[in-house]
Subunit: 338 residues, 2 copies
DNA sequence: TTGTATGCGTTATCAG
DNA sequence: CTGATAACGCATACAA
């Protein structure tokens, strides 16, 4: 099956009776070119089904057409959504997507990434949260000569190198929704200290409570680490207080699921006795019972834009950097009891 | 910060007073080489912190050191696990992982993949289910000169090009477990027609029922498409029959979650009134209430081995191709009522 | 507007 | 065992 040989730029040059350089010009869309010759060459290219060899280009340009995706597994859903989004925009280009899961706690993190970028001569890299909050890492990538776009939940960088969601506003809306449903005792489970997203969601909670004219009861505040077990523990704690909340906002879905388990264990019925709202709209959210009201990032669209900023900065650098999140209203949040 | 210039093979050659070719020989571990010269060159390499340029190698060898991961999103968990597994084995090599999500229903699927492999000059590709069941696709990849390893739930290929889990046995064990708990009316929700994994799990169910001395009631059989909604519908159907099952095995976790919803909607208490078992151990399984008993593939280990078979076939081709799955016993399956 | 000569960093060929 | 020299496929400088 394997066809004899892939056509090279030489074949195209010979068959169209011009020099390699001319062919190279039409490939790279050089402006100074006779329209006639261009069309002639393009015809031959089409006829031969010629595709320039990226490796040769990489060598000559000293730069590869590879986009790196570096992350420390925020959650599977997000990583996959990002991959799909990036692919949406580079699918029919010469770019390819190289992935690199890492451990942000590794002492050799920076070295590893340094080596990775240098070895693969990456064109650009995309950083996912919480790695994207690491300024030192971003600087390293840039020093190595590759563009960086960061994904996050706040203004981590200038608009040309950022796609962000406004977590603060989204959480504020969620809390407002709870207030609208008649809840006044609203519990909050924060994400881990040091995470920008955790901080933003916290600020959103405060803003939302203020907006609704509600006061914040410190007894109804807890902190988790974005993992199920921590949500479970925080839920047990919050529900065990003298005057427990009628609604709990957890800073991500995993912790929200933990709260749900805690409630079930206490014999509470969700949402009848307790409303719960999460954040991220992972697969968990739609599949637990009751289906979880949560906040959704337009991840795929964000990744599409990020890939544009990475591969075609001249046209996309000024594309919107901020994407509105959306409150997905499902069954886990209802009118307050009593 | 960017260091002046990366050292090339020429620098190494000059500083160690040998020819480029000799340096090339030590890099590629050529057997015919004077031990003394080898050590001398290696010293210089270490001193210069020299790393061969993969693009140049790719050009000269007409083959890139890229492993492609082609999939049609079986589930986020699996894809990510596979990526991590592959990275485990290639992390400190010159290989990189490039991913390619595709749509298996696209009419241009084969063409797209053809172009992708040819353009990137992939070294090898890994195929995930259900794409891995496509023999035509596997053949295409091989014709294009790259090794293929397929991941699946049956003997899809010879052992050098396969990592597989024995779904049949795993399901059989799960059913046996249900029987042991006293269940006799066991419902089964099959996966979509045409999926190899669905077929294997079906056979496992039949075997398990036989093993337990139970007869299969056709009224307790349903079919879904591996998605939540289909599990929901199948659950409603099964639970609505005259003599409903006391336990249901769903061929994956998403459908199992659907069954759970159906049960909750009917006011059934899980697991008290109905036991449920799923398959895959996705994030959903651990996070729904009650936690779902399910079957887990050792995905990461499988991917590690797959990457070995891909990058070092001479040493790994005969590594084990079959990996035992494990029944994860959680709270959703308990003793039969009454 | 187009062509010539040369370089990119590595490996293969084939002498020595 | 080792080394000149020519690929590999494309891009850049500089001419023409």
């Amino acid at each position: 099956m394997a066809k004899a040989q892939k056509p090279t730029i030489n074949d195209v040059a010979r068959l169209s009776g011009v020099s390699k350089k001319t062919v190279s010009r039409v490939i790279n869309k050089s402006p100074l070119l006779n329209q006639a010759t261009r069309e002639k060459v393009e015809a031959v290219i089409a006829q031969l089904d010629y595709v320039p060899n990226p490796q040769a280009r990489a060598l000559a340009l000293r730069r590869n057409f590879l986009i790196g995706l570096i992350h420390d597994n925020p959650n599977a859903q997000m990583v996959l959504g990002v991959q799909e989004g990036i692919l949406d925009t580079i699918r029919s280009t010469e770019f390819a997507l190289v992935v690199r899961p890492v451990d942000r706690h590794s002492p050799t993190l920076l070295d590893d990434i340094h080596r990775f970028i240098e070895q693969q001569r990456l064109y650009g890299v995309m950083l996912l949260p919480p790695l994207s909050e690491n300024d030192e890492l971003a600087r390293l990538c840039r020093d190595l000569g590759c563009t960086v776009v960061r994904m996050g939940s706040a203004r981590l960088d200038d608009e040309a190198h950022l796609v962000a969601s406004n977590d603060q506003e989204a959480v504020s809306d969620a809390v407002a929704w709870l207030a609208e449903l008649g809840h006044t005792r609203i519990g909050f489970i924060a994400g881990p200290d040091g995470f920008r997203s955790a901080r933003e969601r916290e600020l959103g909670f405060i803003a939302g409570m203020g907006r609704a004219g509600l006061t914040i009861d410190p007894a109804l505040l807890a902190r988790g680490n974005y993992q199920f077990e921590s949500g479970h523990a925080a839920g047990q704690h919050l529900l065990g207080t003298a005057t427990p909340p009628t609604a709990i906002f957890a800073s991500n879905d995993e912790m929200a699921a933990g709260v749900l388990h805690a409630a079930c264990e206490r014999g509470l019925r969700v949402p009848h006795d307790l409303s719960i709202i999460g954040f991220d709209d992972t697969a968990i959210a739609a599949h637990i019972w009751p289906p979880l009201t949560t906040v959704r990032w337009p991840i795929r669209a964000m990744a599409r834009t990020a890939a544009l900023k990475l591969t075609r900065p001249e046209t996309a650098a000024r594309d919107a950097a901020f994407f509105p999140s959306e409150l997905v209203r499902r069954a886990s949040a209802v009118r307050a009891p009593g």
